[in-house]
Symmetry: C2
Subunit: 325 residues, 2 copies
Amino acid sequence: MTDKTQLLGISNAIVDVLAHVDADFLDEVGAPLGSMTLIDEEQAKSLYKKMGPAMEMSGGSVANTIAGFANLGGAGAYIGKVRDDQLGAIFNHDMQSLGVDIRLQPAASGPATATSHVLISEGGQRTMQTYLGACLGLGLADITDTTVGAPKALLLEGYVWDIGEGPALARRAAEIARKNGTAVALSLSDSFCVDRHKDSFADFVRNDANIVVADEDEIYALLGTTDIDDAIAQLADFDALFAITRSAEGSVIVQGNEIVTQPADVVDNVVDTTGAGDAYAAGFLFGWASERSLSDCARYGTRCATKVIQQLGARIEKGLLDNYT
Amino acid sequence: MTDKTQLLGISNAIVDVLAHVDADFLDEVGAPLGSMTLIDEEQAKSLYKKMGPAMEMSGGSVANTIAGFANLGGAGAYIGKVRDDQLGAIFNHDMQSLGVDIRLQPAASGPATATSHVLISEGGQRTMQTYLGACLGLGLADITDTTVGAPKALLLEGYVWDIGEGPALARRAAEIARKNGTAVALSLSDSFCVDRHKDSFADFVRNDANIVVADEDEIYALLGTTDIDDAIAQLADFDALFAITRSAEGSVIVQGNEIVTQPADVVDNVVDTTGAGDAYAAGFLFGWASERSLSDCARYGTRCATKVIQQLGARIEKGLLDNYT
């Protein structure tokens, strides 16, 4: 294995458009608090017109994790599709400026770079309305021995299953990974996404994934339970390592019969919960790639998540785990 | 006067690209702390490549003031030039979503929408490197009876003098204003800008301006003094109303022999000083347009400036002066 990459992300490349809104606005839009809804170009235009002044920041769930991983000092790489427009240039800049190796060229035609309208309401809750745009063009042709290489791990997100060739490209990535001894990690994205692709996810988790990162609602949706002990018991039967975040109740790591529980840190001022799970994944996988204990991985993940919810925006700052033991 | 507009801004339409940097970065770029330097397209590309992850927000000095004025509840309008690109659409959206009447169409060709690279260093200090892009296309042809109309006041910024037809278009705007009984306000932008255009500014302040908004360094550069009492004595000879901000020493309003001094509010956590002067101008001119006393105008300006330095970004939130007496 000559590839120095520790973690390769394969996901939807998205620029977040963040604005504070009140509850009435969410009612008017018809967006359930905390949901992520896919919208088309016309809906995106109509929504944006209703929104107040916004700020733009690179986003995307697994893209946030890769950026965070690189910021912690890890060697990250990324496969995702932007258009050759200004937002695409912003997305790639923000990745490359962290040392992330961008593996695909921007698309020269087709829909614009994806935007997720992140509607931030009281208590830092976020509701997302996402226009996938250029992401829809990510396909099988983009997943090759050259673009994937032989990283220590690759990380897919559930949202990839929302694009036409998504399930097929995930399988191809897993095949290339298996050939090269690359571990396959999957982030389950959100519980609605799990509902949309439940059978395919269950199959992938059973047969392809070595690591699964998820929050408890996503795991419950996958397993058809609402009880954490029942979930843990079921997960013991899988071969994969599971990192499950539980908001204020911390996180729990399950690998067969080994169970590690990690309490959450107490936070007084939650500014914006965007990216808490993504940041946890960055810390957890940084620990994993550094061959730390599962307990250390869980602590790293917690520290990153704790930090990110106290700021506006989904990406953690540089060197957060420096001198953190 | 049938125009309901209270304040029309004429200025450089800019999207800010904000990133935290350390002192070494400023040294490497060769940017003096706190300065605003104009850069060309190649320099902008090179700088951006060196910068870390950034966030994008609509900016521009007088554009910030107009956005703030609208957010306070005033009727604002705006003349500035963006390109018909994604950043131009963001700039116009952020204005229009506040109810600001955008008077020009985006340019269909020519350079991209302007970007100001706002390098935020310790203590919230900001150093700006600005690529004027599409702003350079703002010209005499854009300043007509139709686009200017008959607002209660129009507000120009010193930075307009940095574009080719800037001085001429400022004079034309002042002529239209005089004809319609519109007050002419000028923001001096920064002391380096005053140095660049000192004679023209002195002439404009003497003959065209009814209101001048500036910080003390800009006034010192204009008058050739470094003493506030000397400056106040000199300003008493002008016909205009002067609002002078002095950072921690508050602000002073001078209109002939009438002098109003306003202390600053004590702020523990300065996050980002970007837009403090712009926010002051928004509050001050909102008071002026509402025909409040000079003392009230100064208090409004102070409240807006105090708020904006405690957040990241240059624009104040909606309704800041609601129920504030």
